[in-house]
Symmetry: C2
Subunit: 993 residues, 2 copies
């Protein structure tokens, strides 16, 4: 935390100067707030009505994707004309004209025109020549510029290359154009001499579709390759290049890139480079230090643009959703205070780093100006920056004070630009923002010029305390690969696993390890020459022994208190958490699972333990039924008996652990039958169970073949229930066998069963395609499509079919396929030779009517099968019906959204599904009619998290259970109700006159 | 409501007189409150610690049942020495001595002696001679008496006869003894001349074990037969007889009895008769009027004792538990005000009715005295009454004022007397009682002498509004047969049913009624000559048609909103409620079910509708999962498809309706296959479903044989699930068949299955045997034991075996077996000829080791099978293992409570169970180790109510479902989770800085 500034003479001067400025600006108003224009009115309503604000901004955001009048009319209706919305009569009737049954084309056009106009306030034209005209106008008005090409998301190398090309083109054009401009000392002379008139800001993430901290060095390598030519061209054309800072996840990569480029022999003497420091980052003081250090390694200064930061919503949400430490201040005044602190530091070091202060907050800007005054700096020693289309009165007054004012001017099409527009609108309307407070809320200027008073940060910490079941559950944080230490530990764990190979996994009954003579080998999918696991194979005698012991130990375990059972699960979670690197690394080898997905699997296993431990108290523990004087009714749940857990290989720890944890905490003894393709992971779970303190007679480890011990276990009269996750065929077989009552069977057998899926994602006409491509890629090809939740059908609505398919194929083409132990791996191998051949056969002999659109290629001794895309026109084509469990995606076109839903539902399965749409009516339709266990709107259809997305399907996908959700534990328990008549001799304790 | 008295001169005089009395009483204190005695201390603690009060009173209540020191020691430990209880050191150490490992016999004796002493303060000795000594002493001290023989509960005619004999004996003894007593004008001269010195109070309910308002005339007939000899003897021996009033349920019967006896030719001129008016009854002003009217029909006055009322707890609880209108004021001051109002009325009519005022509330008594003064009545015109052992200072001072003070003196053994003692202790310690307020709380006397200020009544009404699903569920009120109109309507309904016989029941598919050529006859079990139902029998073509229609209509029904579906259930409930008399009467004929049980069945059916309608919103409706910024997660449930309901005959409406209502409200279409022994009731449900507005394509009525359509339905691929209640054999068969996946089956079939029971009740050594006999009789022989919940095993612990068995046999001997249409029927016939022969065969050929203890006999053309009791010593004897489904009870002795639990658990079933015990440790053990779905402590094991006792068992009793409880509806539905990513272009609606 930076030391806060309390310099009262500084504050006094800021108040004085600010009041003068304010007085001079009287009567002027930023155009957006001007009530004479319709936007001013809209902005007013938006600020009065939070709900309208959300809908309005969402409408603005989707608008450029709407190509037909009918579409626009529908969206106007859904977003803006909601029932019970209090709209001014004029606005309502204008909107109604656009939305009405006739959908007046004129009204629709008017809306589109108006919103485009609003966007054009913030975004200059896409056409470079026109853009240069706008920039030239700025120059004529006395402002410098920095140009940015909108379009942050690249989903393929092709797009990244296109983006790079645009920049190169812009640099050349600008470099040439500005030479014709008249001279302007204030703007183009810096402290060390002339400044380039042309100035360009670059978002590096757009130059690489797979920039990711987990692949730190890979990302830097690829980006440098694209950035160096750009920088060299800039140097050649005398164009200043600024590296924008984006999300925190890209922070370290961008810094290191800047460092490497700034010290590159070609550029070490080039002064016209800059980077951004975001004052909302808790790390920003460190960033300053780091850049000061860098400046010592260079032959010439560079520029730092100090901003507050533009991704606040995203950062906060992203940190919460992943359980990461929140990188930004959540108290606005802390950001403001940090900004001032860093301003002082930069100004003090102005000779090594040229500071640029970008803010619309008058206080923040004046603070820098006054501090510079106090340091006796020339105005040219610092630069002020503001955004195109914002705070026009301020930029003028400050420029008039003699400062170089640079306007950040995005260039671009409206389509990618609307996200930018929404961010600007948000900034203008934010409750805590200077603009809203001064121009809308009418807060007194003297208040707005006061120094920031840092308040308390929003609580981000989860309240969950490991071991304390009374604290609410929270998901386990994922590993934050943006932290170097995390990357290092993962690498170390991979080395440790590699050293320990091959792993010999025994049968374990009541703690006694037994090795079978015959063992099953499991080769490493990345490279089958390495055997990861030698798995012992149990016979029926051993199965009988395990059942005997599990039967004998059951009553005591059933009668053990819920909190003791729950606390053992917590200890199991602690153990898994402690070992999470090793366990994840093991999956990279045994399961061919990429780093992040392997980490996700371990996190999910931990989640299951902690969630079920807490949920058990709530769901299985005693609850009082209707209170009634004279009687007391208590309902609670108890375990059912020995339970067999039959787990799949694709979530080697999570699914096995989830089913086992549920069965155990509900008071059942357990026989674990791990998948023979995930024996080592299964054995790790077993060992952790014992380490956590589960009695060796409570849980037994029984690897073996389905033929030999599977049926034997399922049919055994002493087995109370079977928890199974796997294929439809085996699931149905288990259900059928368990339906029979065998001799001496003490109870009706139950089966908790999760089977397959043939999951579809619908891409609606108005979908955010950037998000859709990313969501589909991850859903279809994450872990090579080997998830029951994986997307294997893509249903694209209407006209966007071609464009979307093309982008998707481009994305597939650049998907990084690598051994799973490589951090740059986005897709690894399939699990084994059998899968490889089975899938290859399908790909090479597709059913009639299936046209291959894309087939990647990758050669390796491992079981690598690059992504494949088929197109069909018949929803009942086998490609749309059979579950393949691999990286095969089938695409179909639907003429309407309704038809898309029909197609999506036309399968035996009902597990997951997804919809990318910004059409509220269609989203509502999907909620009602898209019949799957887990439906995801505007995100991918995999990656359900415990408690947040209770997981499971119905139809032929399962028995309608929800792992990691309410009700799951009760599937493993029998209810008991105890009623006591509390009245004795006419006297009852709960009633007094 | 009586008009309230506001006479201020009366109040002034009361205050004056009361203050004088109080002053004179200064220094005197009722012996129980005297801190010099240990009871005074105990009472102090009791009044400070509500929990100790409950435990203490419960200990006192059970004490006489404890015969061994070890038992007493255990109860001292459990009740009085609870952990964390704050007891004075002396008391704790004394109690610890009694409870300790050694269980000092002396300490135990001391405790027993002390409590007996306390009891003896309130109860005179059982031995008549000793009792007469006590009464004589009262006489010598200047008090009159009325003697009462304790022992309210008779469980058999034998006990009732014994009680009668005791009274006759007492009357004779007293009549003779008092002639020897010296004369005492104040006590024995009334307004009309001499009064009998001997005065006896009688509780009429003790004279008949089956006194019940449903059997109004039968009860009166039997009681009159026993009372007339008693009255005649009293007249002969010149003994005054007072009829005590007991529970409200007995109120009308007692009044009519008194009226008939008071106007009986033998007694119409006999003045020494009395009845009680309970001022806490809302009806008490009517009672006064009724008695005044009666006085006109007599040749001479009689006495009325005005009391407040002693069954307040019971009345409030009983009314709430049954949904009856609460008969008593729940605001204490209303009772006090009513008492004063009635005092005035009685005093004004003192020439027709001699008033006696019984109260310990000085204000209430003085109010009567002052009112009498104002009316210028002689003191002998009224009588005051107080209880033996209570309020000694008051009784003395009032007697000294010249009033006849009569002491109500119970005579009896401590065993039945402890209930009486507890009621006295409660009265002494009640927060709102005069005694506590004056002697313990130290409330100023002038406050206590103020006129009562009636406040608000406690709310008794349920908040449930039919049709409004947002109001909380409440159980439907049972018919209150103490209301003459209710009895009349039931009789009318029986006549209507009789007229409508035989009933022809068709098959109905999509509203089209089809009559089969062959029909199944169902004769009336009461008299098989009458055919109740001719039932059509569906074939497979019709089953297929029903399935087709149910399949076709399903999607629309599934997608109909929960509230619409729930409201239809509410309408169904309304319809059933409107028709409840007819529906119940139908069961008397078709099912041989007695009135109250038939009513209970209809009430339960209504409950299922209203509960599931409400529960559906809560349990199936959308619920937000963990709130997380940037995403929205909603979980909800949808129907699964066509559902077959296969119902039993024993709860012809309730079970069928419950399963159907659950399936429907959860969004499934339904095919009802009613039991062929309950076709008319089933058809009634179907008709009510249509009347309620359920679409004719949603629900189909398919009577038929299991062989022909049962398997066909269960195996059909389009059937999504089967809800079944019935035998183990058929249940397991359905589960097995449904476990298979048939061709073209769209989903895994589910079975919701309730099967049989072999339910045991444990009678512990310290059980309240009166309650236990009643509970066992109802559980074992209610509806002839034809309930899956019925008690068929009785496990009696230790020494009480013989005594209990004997009383039980006596109770069986007097069980009123009659046709079910007779309101006096406590047990009717079994369902049909097959059952009759099957059960007869078991009774006539019991397995080895089963000794017949009792076999009733009853001859009738109906299928009547009187109760049978067997004794066995082997818990595994078939009599302890097989479910017979009839009035056969098997008894076994257990040496210890632990053994009793082991025996209780030694069966394949786990449905219901019961324990009668007052041993907290044993009750705790039972809670933990008695493994059944529904365990009942200190009540019978049948009669689960919706929401209060979620019903269902496990092991071979069912699949662990709880009808009428949480989670049940979800068995009929599949969960769906919808996750929306709400962040668009970095903007999320749920997060603002």
């Amino acid at each position: 935390m930076v030391e806060l500034n309390n310099n009262s003479s500084l504050d006094k001067r800021i108040l004085e100067l600010g009041s003068q400025c304010w007085k001079k600006m009287q009567g002027e108003i930023p155009s957006l707030f001007d009530p004479q224009f319709w936007q001013g009115h809209i902005l007013d309503w938006v600020m009065e009505d939070e709900d309208f604000k959300i809908d309005g901004f969402r409408f603005v955001e989707v608008l450029p994707a709407l190509t037909k009048n009918r579409q626009i009319a529908d969206h106007v209706q859904d977003y803006l004309l909601k029932e019970n919305r209090n709209l001014p009569v004029m606005v309502r009737s204008a909107l109604s004209m656009a939305a009405g049954g006739i959908a007046s084309p004129l009204a629709v056009m008017a809306i589109k025109k108006n919103i485009s106009e609003m966007a054009r306030r913030f975004i200059t034209e896409d056409d470079p020549d026109k853009a240069i005209q706008s920039l030239s106008k700025l120059n004529n008005d006395g402002f410098a510029f920095t140009a940015d090409i909108l379009g942050e998301a690249s989903t393929s190398d092709k797009e990244a290359e296109q983006y790079l090309k645009k920049y190169l083109n812009l640099i050349e054009l600008l470099g040439n154009a500005v030479t014709l401009w008249p001279d302007n000392k204030k703007l183009y002379i810096g402290p060390d001499g002339p400044l380039p008139r042309a100035n360009v800001s670059v978002k590096v993430s757009a130059l690489d579709p797979y920039m990711d901290p987990v692949d730190y060095h890979g990302s830097i390598g690829r980006l440098k390759e694209r950035l160096l030519p750009l920088l060299r061209s800039a140097k050649k054309h005398n164009v200043f290049i600024n590296f924008d800072l984006e999300q925190w996840a890209f922070h370290d990569i961008t810094f290191q890139l800047f460092e490497e480029i700034a010290t590159h022999p070609d550029l070490i003497d080039w002064p016209h480079l800059g980077l951004v420091v975001q004052a909302y980052l808790k790390e920003s003081p460190g960033d300053c230090d780091r850049l000061l250090k860098l400046s010592n390694s260079r032959d010439t200064p560079f520029t730092v643009r100090l901003v507050k930061g533009a991704y606040w919503d995203y950062e906060v949400v992203n940190a919460r959703q992943n359980g990461f430490a929140c990188p930004v201040f959540t108290n606005k005044a802390r950001t403001d205070a940090c900004y001032e602190e860093l301003s002082l530091q930069l100004l003090k070091n102005h000779q090594r780093i040229h500071p640029a202060f970008a803010s619309h907050n008058l206080r923040s800007v004046l603070h820098a100006i006054v501090a510079a005054e106090k340091l006796n700096l020339d105005p040219q020693c610092l630069e002020l920056q503001m955004l195109y289309g914002m705070a026009e009165p301020q930029r003028k007054i400050l420029s008039d004070m003699g400062y170089r004012m640079r306007i950040y001017a995005p260039i671009g099409e409206l389509l990618p630009g609307m996200g930018y527009l929404v961010r600007r609108l948000l900034e203008n309307t934010s409750n805590s923002g200077f603009l809203r407070q001064s121009y809308h809320d009418g807060v007194d200027i003297s208040n707005l010029l006061r120094p920031p008073k840092p308040g308390k940060e929003m609580s981000q910490e989860s309240e969950m305390q490991p071991g304390d079941l009374s604290t609410p559950f929270a998901n386990t944080a994922f590993l934050d690969f943006s932290i170097p230490e995390v990357r290092k530990m993962f690498t170390t764990a991979l080395e440790a696993v590699q050293k320990s190979l091959p792993i010999k996994v025994p049968i374990v009954i009541s703690g006694i390890q037994i090795k079978s003579i015959k063992e099953k080998q499991h080769p490493c999918p990345n490279n089958p020459e390495t055997i990861v696991t030698y798995l012992s194979i149990a016979d029926q005698n051993q199965a009988q022994q395990a059942i005997n012991n599990a039967t004998k130990s059951w009553p005591k375990w059933r009668d053990t208190s819920l909190s003791i059972r729950g606390k053992l699960l917590e200890k199991l979670a602690d153990g898994l958490e402690k070992d999470r690197y090793y366990l994840a690394a093991l999956q990279c080898f045994e399961s061919g699972k990429p780093w992040k997905e392997a980490d996700g699997d371990i996190a999910e296993a931990i989640d299951f333990c902690r969630y079920y431990a807490r949920q058990a108290l709530f769901e299985l523990g005693p609850s009082e039924q209707l209170a009634m004087a004279g009687e007391n009714n208590i309902l609670f749940f108890e375990g059912r008996g020995p339970t067999v857990i039959i787990a799949p290989w694709n979530f080697p720890l999570a699914i096995l652990c989830g089913m086992t944890a549920a069965a155990l905490v509900a008071g059942n003894t357990v026989i674990i039958k791990p998948s023979s393709s995930a024996g080592s992971s299964g054995f790790e779970l077993y060992k952790h169970l014992l380490d956590a303190g589960f009695d060796k007679d409570i849980v037994h480890f029984l690897p073996g073949s389905g033929n030999i011990i599977g049926d034997f276990l399922v049919e055994h009269p002493q087995i109370a229930q079977i928890a199974f996750t796997g294929s439809k065929e085996i699931g149905l077989r288990i259900i059928e066998k368990a339906g029979k009552t065998y001799e001496n069977q003490p109870q009706v057998k139950k089966v908790v069963c999760e089977m397959g899926g043939k999951n579809g994602i619908i891409i609606d006409e108005d979908a955010d395609l950037d998000a859709a491509i990313k969501g589909v890629m991850h859903s279809a090809f994450g872990y090579s499509g080997q998830k029951c939740s994986a997307c294997s059908r893509l249903i694209i609505v209407g006209d966007i079919y071609n464009a979307f398919t093309e982008r998707l194929i481009d994305a597939c083409r650049s998907l990084p396929i690598k051994p799973a132990i490589d951090p740059g791996c986005r897709m690894g191998p399939v699990i084994d030779k059998v899968s490889f051949h089975r899938l290859s056969l399908i790909i090479n002999n597709p059913p009639d009517g299936a046209e291959i659109l894309f087939e990647g290629n990758y050669t390796s001794p491992g079981y690598f099968l690059p992504p494949v895309i088929f197109a069909v026109s018949d929803p009942l084509n086998p490609m749309m019906q059979e579950e393949y469990f691999g990286p095969i995606l089938t695409i179909i076109k639907a003429n309407s959204f309704n038809m898309a839903i029909e197609i999506a539902n036309a399968t035996d399965f009902a597990l997951t599904g997804g919809v990318f749409s910004r059409n509220p009516s269609n989203l509502k339709k999907a909620r009602k009619h898209f019949k799957v266990g887990n439906l995801y709107l505007n995100r991918g259809c995999t990656g359900a998290l415990v408690q947040r997305q209770p997981f499971g399907g119905f139809a032929m996908s399962g028995t309608g259970t929800k792992a990691g959700g309410p009700g799951y534990l009760r599937l493993f328990a029998d209810p008991r109700c105890i009623t006591e008549n509390t009245m004795r001799s006419g006297f009852t304790p709960d009633l007094q006159m």
